[in-house]
Symmetry: C2
């Protein structure tokens, strides 16, 4: 048995144990004659704070209680108990399922009261269970609907699949499309690498440009395609690459407020998934561009800011993730020039400009190369 396998079994066993402990707590409460209840951190915006030390979103001290002292509350705990039973069996049988399947599956449960009335309700319950148990959805073997993106670069890895182990080099053993990140990247073990830094890229067009120009080979970098707002799997593997291989991570996006949020979610996590910051966020990740300053310095083709862009920039000025001198300066500059630019606008200087000039200059300034 390999280390990965042993590691993955431990995660499963731990997840299963945490779930059973939760159910046992309901049992003990009944046994003591208490009304069963479950206590959670309050998940309203006012109880989520940006931790200055760890640089990610975390829950504050306030808690809420789900109690069976009302029909509504009792039904919620009933659904939780059924879901726990399903998840524990799923882990036992080494199976997995999607959030949507869970919602539909609840129709087959023997108590009609336990069925979910909407997918929002089942999604919310799984998030609650993640928080209470301290186990991630992936370790419950709940798969996302959204698939992760791709990797390309000098990395050799071993993926533990249901069909056995696969050893894959992310340049030599894959096509031009790259290595497809599995739904649960914790099934991956890093075997060997020649990576100097990890470059996360927002758009497919730019990802393909970097690969065509051989940027990963020329600079020993691992190109991670974010594919817009990155899936959990993509953020998770980025964090693991940073933490386990001690690699710098840089993020390269379009130059508009929505793209800065993509950077923010890679680096600092999001309010919605504050309980996952430790698992998904890479606070050491740094932003390459397109910076508003680049629009000026490289005279890039631009589009004017729309009203929604201006509002988004203004709300970023209030967002603790962007409260640094760097971001304030850049965002103020963008509000001033009233322009935004796409990554691919660099092509206005020729197809090699991004790999021969722009990235070497920016990464040089940042001390990455």
């Amino acid at each position: 048995m390999s280390d990965t396998e042993r590691g993955s079994q431990t995660a499963e066993e731990r997840a299963r144990q945490q779930l059973i402990d939760l159910a046992a707590e309901f049992y003990d409460q009944f046994d003591r004659g208490d009304v069963p209840q479950m206590t959670l951190p309050t998940r309203s915006k006012s109880n989520i704070v940006f931790d200055e030390e760890s640089h990610v979103w975390v829950y504050g001290d306030r808690t809420s209680t789900r109690s069976a002292n009302s029909v509504r509350g009792a039904r919620k705990l009933l659904k939780a108990a059924y879901t726990i039973e399903f998840l524990a069996r799923q882990l036992d049988e080494e199976r997995s399922s999607t959030l949507r399947e869970l919602y539909y599956l609840s129709e087959s449960w023997d108590s009609e009261e336990a069925g979910f009335s909407s997918q929002d309700e089942s999604n919310q319950l799984v998030e609650d269970l993640e928080i209470v148990s301290g186990v991630t959805r992936e370790d419950f073997h709940m798969r996302p609907e959204e698939s992760g993106a791709t990797l390309m670069g000098p990395l050799e890895l071993r993926e533990q699949t249901r069909r056995g182990e696969r050893e894959i080099h992310c340049q030599e053993d894959v096509g031009e499309g790259g290595y497809q990140i599995p739904n649960n990247p914790d099934t991956i073990e890093f075997l060997d690498h020649d990576i100097d830094f990890v470059l996360c890229v927002e758009t497919g067009g730019m990802r393909d440009r970097l690969i065509e120009n051989g940027f990963d080979e020329a600079h020993n970098c691992l190109v991670v395609h974010l594919k817009g707002q990155p899936a959990r799997a993509t953020r998770r593997i980025t964090k693991r690459l940073h933490d386990e291989l001690d690699l710098p991570v840089v993020v390269f996006t379009d130059g508009d407020p929505w793209s800065y949020r993509i950077f923010g979610s890679v680096a600092y996590g999001s309010i919605k998934s504050a309980h996952l910051s430790e698992y998904l966020a890479t606070p050491e990740a740094r932003f390459v561009g397109i910076q508003p300053q680049d629009i000026v310095d490289y005279d890039l083709p631009t589009d004017p800011l729309a009203d929604s862009d201006i509002n988004a920039l203004e709300s970023e000025l209030e967002d603790p993730r962007f409260m640094t001198d760097y971001w304030e300066e850049q965002i103020e500059l963008q509000l001033d020039i009233e322009k935004k630019a796409e990554q691919q606008a660099l092509a206005s200087r020729g197809l090699d400009f991004v790999t021969e000039t722009y990235l070497p200059e920016r990464l040089g300034e940042m001390g990455v190369i």
Copy 2:
């Protein structure tokens, strides 16, 4: 030199020659003292017909002429000439680019008049050049922004990458994410296979369910993930699998009018890309479900039809692609029961129901297994 390489060079050479012939025609027109012009099939809806014989959309007989007898027309031909020069050089240098890069690149051209004023304009010109030259965008080495999806199944292929050839078995040499289809699937050569049929699947959740349950292994099928409305690369490889390996193709989607359109685009192409039907459409592809009849037969969990669903179903009744007894019956039934269902609704009968019961029954009825 392998056959693929030779084949691919021929495609490039042919594309380049077609482009140069186009430019030469402008030259000859000038030389003869004629006003240069370019003749195209009229691309309005009224000149696009569903060909009853080939079962795909094709252009009718009407043509339109772009002539340099106005400033606007002259500017259009100037842009065409610059674009032809760029594409011919790109092919010569064995490079490629995206449609968006072409738009931005035009800013670097020496004539300011030749620059595109919007990306719609450059996209449209590339489509015009595809039609006039009879060469596809892929053979001009224009990459799409959207990446293709993944394959999983008993197929061994050779992909010609810029970094050399890669031989990949789409079960044994890939992780659980599968083999990522490259932007231009004509760089792939099929080496060996043990496939009985090709199963195109709309959603990631269902694709993962089939792989987890080992459906591809149990039934020797190649699972193609469509990822919603399929990219050109996904439709192209599906067509090649059908034509070159003589394999039945079946399509498995949600049970709603938008998903029937996904089936329609795989099988019959679309009005927008009528000039590509021969390259992208697989008229022999058949629909597995979710059929409205399945909603009734398997008592699936459903959602009510929204007004937009009803409108879309009604317009499908007028769509020549759906003018068969089968589709009329199914669509009428759906309008009657006023319900729609997702693929994953099959999970209401348990996680194995789709692979143990539903698909074997449906594929049995269809004579596929």
